[in-house]
Subunit: 267 residues, 2 copies
């Protein structure tokens, strides 16, 4: 079993609640990564909806940081069940406190053979000519990098070096697990904040809300990703992202509202 | 009292439920506009959160069409209440059936004086040189156009005439009510589907999920909007939107997942 599958396993208890454990293997500093927690929650929803296994549109509002290496519960409620789509809401709880509130529409993704419109993937040097994402550049421990191999465009890899608030690169799971829609939820929040490219690693960027729209099932292999911050005002920013599979097909789009907490931010 | 305020009024019943009425004045064909229903729901949330009056990030999943000229109930639950942010989830119900499921983080918007990054507004001919949105072009009754004045860029106004799946234009409330964050929720879903610009008015485009991130309080006057469809596959599309106020400041960003139902779509 691959590590990502092991760490997103929830066991249904039979009353709409599933139980599992938040791993310490996908953290940024001491906090479990938001994309990992989202994937964990959606894995639980998926188990309860066998005919609609794929997240088509997932929104998560992050209430409090998750707690690594600690038990979790997912309480889910089916809001509507249709022929092609089901909508669910769910709450991920740890130690008696709600951590994530989730709203998702599930369905079944195709392989995108008949795309009428699509966003072209970014041009990137091959993975071996890109710069591995490193913990040193951000000054925190990143256990997530033991599991995820992230290679950044050399033009955008150094904090503060980019001309735009953008980060582009490659991503894959280190243990060879193929990407799927669940892994895309993780990938959608696994790159350095795009704003660091322009401003430098200026602080902490906690996510308030994250929406990921899944578009196709990814092909196996390296995926490409591009994230950019287009609007930053009053310490709140919007980061847009997109993920493409090894065949260059758009697989997911993401948007998050995040706070920019610098050492000079009001407490 | 302005019509928009009258038609988004919900009266708290005291048990977390607020009651009101879905107006027939904001419809596309016989269906209340999704942006209007979103504004109505958020107006109800706002009344319950006096210190956090502004929607910062709102996601709605549309379960069933709303019913115009019919009573509605909003059941809301406060998920987390913090110093600067509160998160709420809510369900809008009519005739005993859930219509909208909402997840929102509320707070307080500034006027955006200290923007560090911002998206520039589109260039547009002045409103009088643009083309009023008309019901005739879509072949349905649009009661919403009795309340909203929408002027489209002449290059993109005719269905099927644009080079891209994009629509750009001006918007304001006809009765002179100034725009505010609530009106932005309406404006974010009030333009013709961007995909019509490229493909023509090919069918019905029901929204599955809509996320609006509010960025600043708008200044009074005409607002500018741009929507584009960047990805269409398997009859599902993503439409991105942005709204700017009369001073050219970005006020909101939107993203929706919608279905494209053509006469040849599977039932």
């Amino acid at each position: 079993m691959f590590r990502f599958d092991e760490d997103t396993r929830l066991e249904p208890r039979g009353d709409g609640v599933a139980q599992g454990r938040v791993s310490a293997g996908w953290s940024i500093g001491a906090n479990p990564n938001g994309g990992y927690l989202t994937a964990l929650a959606v894995a639980g929803l998926r188990a309860a909806l066998p005919t609609h296994p794929d997240p088509l549109s997932v929104t998560v509002h992050f209430l409090r940081p998750g707690v690594q290496d600690t038990a979790c519960e997912l309480r889910a409620a089916l809001v509507r069940s249709g022929r092609t789509l089901s909508t669910v809401r769910a709450t991920l709880t740890q130690s008696g406190e709600d951590r994530l509130e989730i709203l998702a529409t599930m369905g079944e993704l195709g392989d995108g053979g008949d795309a009428q419109l699509a966003i072209a993937p970014p041009r990137l040097p091959p993975p071996d000519a890109c710069v591995p994402r490193s913990a040193a550049a951000q000054g925190v421990t990143l256990s997530i990098l033991d599991r995820l191999d992230i290679r950044l465009d050399p033009d955008e890899a150094a904090a503060g070096a980019a001309r735009r608030a953008q980060v582009t690169g490659w991503v894959r799971l280190r243990d060879g697990r193929a990407p799927d829609p669940l892994a895309c939820l993780l990938f959608a929040d696994a790159f350095p904040p795009a704003v660091f490219g322009l401003l430098g690693a200026v602080g902490w960027v906690p996510t308030v809300s994250l929406t990921v729209d899944l578009r196709r099932r990814p092909a196996p292999g390296w995926m490409r990703a591009r994230f950019h911050c287009s609007d930053l005002v009053d310490g709140r920013l919007i980061e847009d992202g997109a993920l493409w599979d090894a065949q260059g097909r758009l697989v997911a789009q993401s948007r998050q509202l995040a706070l920019l907490r610098t050492p000079s931010s009001p407490a």
